[in-house]
């Protein structure tokens, strides 16, 4: 087999020695690959935020084209589904795409996959609403190809529907386990308790072929956190690891001390313009929100202060390697960027773009502000056009889930509100009320789809609502906390259960063609807004009691049984007893 990966590897190692040679070799390599239809490009976007923080977004994008004819549409390019000989080595034959990942996808016929592990609570008011997964904790959803999905349905038909989609041995379970192993995340622990099959939410973000039978599974892991052990395998997937290119900046110590951080894996299927065949796109993301103000009291940042590293050489495998800085707008005090470069305007955002494909010396980009101290009170936040607030009211008894959706635009908005709750929390839908400034507006609910909880599967509620212009819509419903067996409780039972965040998808207005599909945003992924997670404490039994309870309850029953049959079976006789003094009658009346 052509030792291309090996070659690439050697190259990357030799690069420091023979830089310029490596450069043009790299060029040739790249062209060679592009003929095979594999591409790799990387970019880093830095976004200074209104409250002095900096949002950094690393994006590593692979794409592999499918030769038209071979490979079912939607199937990975280098895949061979029936595993016959000739395809076999082609299957293993990837030059850039991480084999460990593509193999997983191929084995389980997953056509679209989104996995994100985040830590921290995204503050939409101060940080805006960029698209993508901003959910606290872990989230994973995947579209599976027809055959497996249909197989699922058949399997689902006979027997309980509970484990149809995500039972042991199903592709979903397999994929979860695989990814859990790959990214050292404990996704597979509670798959069944977490998995739902939304009907309207989480439509494909790529353009999956429209033939039926594609099946969606979604799972949210609110209490899953992300740390170094997730980043290390993540870096392993990159062609240059963290040795070259912008990936050099990914310094775990810094990234994981950021206020908000997360890694994401996104696999999409994109049709070709010609319509025959298509490309599988794989995007690996790392997001982080840094707070220079906390450290220095000023907003100034540089790659070195943020990451404690700088870019020393470029990754030859990357066809393009860009570093974009969004220039802050509407800020009183001036700021200067070094090294200076002219500002371009790409879709309304003024940004400075550095090309890092040719790196000779250390690159360090910095921005400093003409102020000696950042004044928080100067920061003007404009509220996001769509936002959700959710809380669980009521300290005891049947508690109330109250959700506030606010639309700041002067036009009405259609949104899809998706709520997922564990099986032991049952919503009382007849108590579902929608209010706008105190006035009941149940008419705002346009459609409602509800999957009641069947232990251990979660509840799924999908509401389509019409938000009046510039309004706060209050949704309230009663929630009944269930009582579960002592074996079903978590190890830290008296902490409570984390409830996954509710999700809000903005929908195109009615009348627009197929108004159920969700609009895409600039970066190609769906615009969606996550609420914060909730903590609900269930009443716990005493975990040390089983034997005592069995003993005491049984004793009571036995006592009763004994007494009853005692008096039923023994025969009565009259006895002559001498007369009785009155106060002897104490007790017996």
């Amino acid at each position: 087999m052509p030792p291309l990966p090996l070659l690439a590897l050697i190259l990357t190692f030799l690069l420091p020695a023979l830089a310029e040679v490596g450069q043009e070799r790299g060029q040739r390599q790249r062209q060679g690959r592009e003929q095979r239809g594999e591409q790799f490009s990387e970019s880093l976007t830095l976004r200074p935020l209104l409250d002095g923080k900096v949002h950094t977004r690393f994006a590593f994008e692979f794409s592999a084209g499918a030769e038209s004819g071979t490979g079912r549409e939607g199937q990975l390019a280098d895949g061979d589904e029936d595993g016959d000989g000739d395809g076999a080595d082609a299957a293993l034959h990837t030059t850039l795409l991480p084999l460990s990942l593509t193999q997983l996808l191929r084995t389980y016929d997953a056509r679209e996959l989104h996995l994100s592990l985040n830590a921290g609570k995204w503050d939409a008011l101060r940080w805006g609403n960029p698209s993508g997964a901003l959910r606290t904790g872990g989230e994973m959803w995947a579209w599976f190809a027809g055959e497996s999905a249909l197989a699922e349905q058949e399997q689902g038909k006979e027997g309980e529907r509970v484990n149809a989609g995500e039972g042991e041995g199903s592709p979903w379970q397999g994929l979860t386990n695989g990814l859990a192993g790959l990214f050292c995340a404990s996704l597979s622990s509670q798959t069944v308790q977490r998995t739902t099959e939304p009907l309207h939410a989480f439509r494909p973000e790529g353009d999956l072929p429209s033939h039926p039978g594609y099946r969606l599974f979604h799972a949210a892991f609110p209490s899953e956190s992300v740390c170094t052990e997730n980043l290390t395998p993540f870096l392993k997937l990159l062609p240059c690891k963290s040795r070259a290119g912008i990936a050099q900046l990914l310094n775990p110590h810094k990234v994981f001390s950021a206020d908000w951080h997360g890694v994401g894996v996104h696999v999409l299927w994109k049709n070709d313009t010609l319509g025959l065949g298509g490309r599988t796109e794989l995007r690996l993301e790392v997001n982080a929100v840094f707070d220079p103000v906390r450290v220095s009291g000023k907003r100034d940042w540089s790659l070195r202060t943020l990451f404690d590293r700088s870019i020393t050489r470029s990754c030859p495998a990357a066809s393009s390697s860009l570093l974009k800085v969004h220039m802050p707008t509407g800020s009183a005090s001036g700021h200067l960027l070094s090294p200076p470069l002219e500002t371009l305007l790409t879709d309304g955002v003024p940004e400075v773009v550095y090309d890092l494909s040719q790196v000779s010396e250390d690159v360090d980009i910095s921005m400093r502000w003409e102020e000696d101290k950042f004044d928080h009170s100067k920061a003007q936040f404009n509220p996001p056009e769509l936002s959700i607030r959710r809380s669980l009211k009521g300290s005891s008894g049947p508690s109330q889930l109250s959700v506030i959706l606010s639309n700041t635009l002067p036009i009405p908005r259609r949104v899809l509100y998706v709520e997922t709750l564990p099986w032991f929390l049952s919503l009382y839908l007849h108590t579902l009320h929608v209010q706008v400034s105190g006035v009941s507006r149940d008419d705002l609910i346009q459609s409602l789809s509800y999957l009641p909880p069947v232990s251990p599967k979660p509840t799924l509620l999908e509401l389509t609502l019409l938000l009046p212009p510039q309004s706060e819509v209050h949704i309230t419903m009663q929630v009944e906390k269930g009582f579960i067996r002592y074996t079903e409780h978590q190890p830290d039972a008296s902490r409570g259960w984390d409830l996954p965040a509710a999700v809000v998808f903005p929908l195109p207005p009615l009348g627009a063609k197929d108004s159920h599909s969700l609009p895409d945003s600039a970066e190609g992924s769906q615009q969606r807004i996550y609420s914060s997670t909730l903590l609900v404490d269930l009443p716990t039994p005493d975990f040390s009691m089983p034997y005592n309870v069995i003993i005491m309850s049984s004793t009571l029953v036995a006592l009763f049984f004994g007494h009853v049959f005692n008096s039923l079976t023994r025969k009565f006789v009259l006895l002559k007893v001498d007369a009785v003094e009155p106060e002897k009658k104490a007790e017996g009346s």
């Binding site: 009641p452 067996r485 025969k571 007893v577 007790e587």
Partner: protein
């Protein structure tokens, strides 16, 4: 055949008290107190809670199968009833009030049937008033727990049986067994009452097996018909597992004054089926012995079995206990033969205080744990058990009577 008493018998000031009590509960159901009590675990079990009932109806009207998921566990018949009469406050308040009224009236009627032809019914009204004023029956009604309706059904069935009206009583029992399965155990004593009448009879009455068989067959017929009807209403067989299944498998571990919930919360999973079987079959043991022992007074056997069921059923509420304590009022002749009435009464009083207190400490204040409430349910169980044992002993004893200076003992 005891003759029906003329309506004139009711025209007396004593009837004011039950009337007032009914009015009181009617107004309380409409007051904010009712929603506050509605989800109380001691007044409404998952099988009888009004909130869940409304949820089920909401599903039903939205065209979703209410028996999918573990929320709605009422019988399809109840569902049908409440889709006919919407559960708006005024209607349900009226319904529950009327149901309690009927129940109380039935109690009085049963009493009269028992003492007929002696026609003084002062005690009848007293019984009715006691039934209506007893918190165990009063609060569940205010909380709109459908267990009050079950009580009404049971008493009505018993009344018809006492008046020797076979079919109505059988139909009612069948209907009842859809909302509370264990009540089906009351069929044998009911049949005996239908055969021998509600009065204690010496010598032992002759029970003709043929008639008994006919009655049982009739009951089976009703059951089949009603099952079909339920299937028709629910549209699938899912309700069987959700209603009858629930009483046996205990899928919902919400606390109640009974003995099951904590036992099966703490039960090891591999022993669960065995103990479920044991607990379900346990009340069955008593049916035959009681009926045999009290052939001379089937009504008493009925009362005892009712007590056993309401003590050991899987989802009891306070109104179950309330019912058989009220039934105790029909047998004044045994009072003098109780052994430790004070102890039993005090047990009941303490249980009545401890149940809400420990429920609060565990679930609201959070300063006590589940064992507190479990302990109070044990006390309650003990109180109920000892009441039954007392009544049983006194019932047996009263057949012997007493003589000054002589004591009755068992060998």
């Amino acid at each position: 055949m005891p003759k029906r008493l003329s309506g004139a018998a009711y025209a007396r000031p004593a009837l004011l008290i039950p009337a007032l009590l009914l009015l009181l509960r009617f107004s309380l159901i409409l007051s904010p107190l009712s929603p506050w009590l509605r989800d109380d675990h001691q007044l409404a079990s998952p099988l009888t809670s009004f909130t869940r009932l409304k949820e089920g109806i909401w599903f039903f009207q939205k065209g979703i199968d209410p028996y999918h998921g573990g929320v709605f566990r009422h019988s399809p018949l109840t569902l049908a009833l409440f889709t006919l009469i919407p559960p708006i406050p005024l209607v349900s308040a009226l319904l529950w009030t009327v149901a309690d009224g009927i129940a109380a009236w039935c109690l009085a009627e049963i009493w009269r049937a028992r003492i007929a032809p002696r026609g003084h019914d002062g005690r009848g009204v007293l019984l009715a008033s006691l039934y209506l004023s007893k918190p165990y029956n009063f609060l569940p009604t205010v909380a709109l727990s459908s267990s009050s309706l079950d009580n009404a059904f049971l008493l009505l069935a018993l009344r018809f049986a006492a008046l020797q009206q076979v079919s109505p009583s059988l139909i009612l029992l069948a209907v009842l067994s859809f909302s509370s399965l264990p009540s089906i155990l009351l069929l044998p004593p009911l049949v005996m009452i239908l055969l021998a009448g509600p009065k204690p009879t010496v010598p032992l009455p002759k029970y003709s097996p043929k008639t008994a068989l006919r009655i049982v067959a009739e009951f089976a017929l009703y059951m089949v018909v009603l099952t079909g009807a339920s299937r028709f209403v629910a549209g699938s067989w899912g309700w069987v597992l959700q209603t009858w299944g629930a009483t046996v498998m205990l899928p919902d571990l919400t606390p109640n004054p009974g003995l099951w919930w904590y036992f099966f919360t703490e039960m090891f999973d591999q022993y669960r089926p065995f103990f479920l079987l044991t607990f379900s079959l346990h009340p069955l043991i008593y049916v035959a012995p009681m009926c045999l022992k009290f052939q001379h007074d089937p009504l008493f056997a009925f009362f005892l079995l009712q007590g056993i069921i309401s003590t050991f059923k899987s989802y009891p509420t306070l109104s179950d206990a309330g019912l058989y304590i009220s039934l105790l009022g029909i047998f004044p002749e045994i009072y003098s033969h109780f052994r430790h009435p004070l102890v039993t009464a005090l047990l009941h009083l303490h249980a009545a205080l401890l149940l809400p207190l420990f429920h609060y400490l565990w679930l609201d204040a959070g300063t006590g744990n589940a064992n507190f409430f479990y302990a109070s349910t044990l006390v309650f169980g003990l109180a109920n058990g000892s009441t039954i044992v007392e009544a049983l002993w006194a019932g047996l004893h009263s057949t012997i009577g007493e003589k000054e200076g002589w004591e009755v003992v068992q060998l």
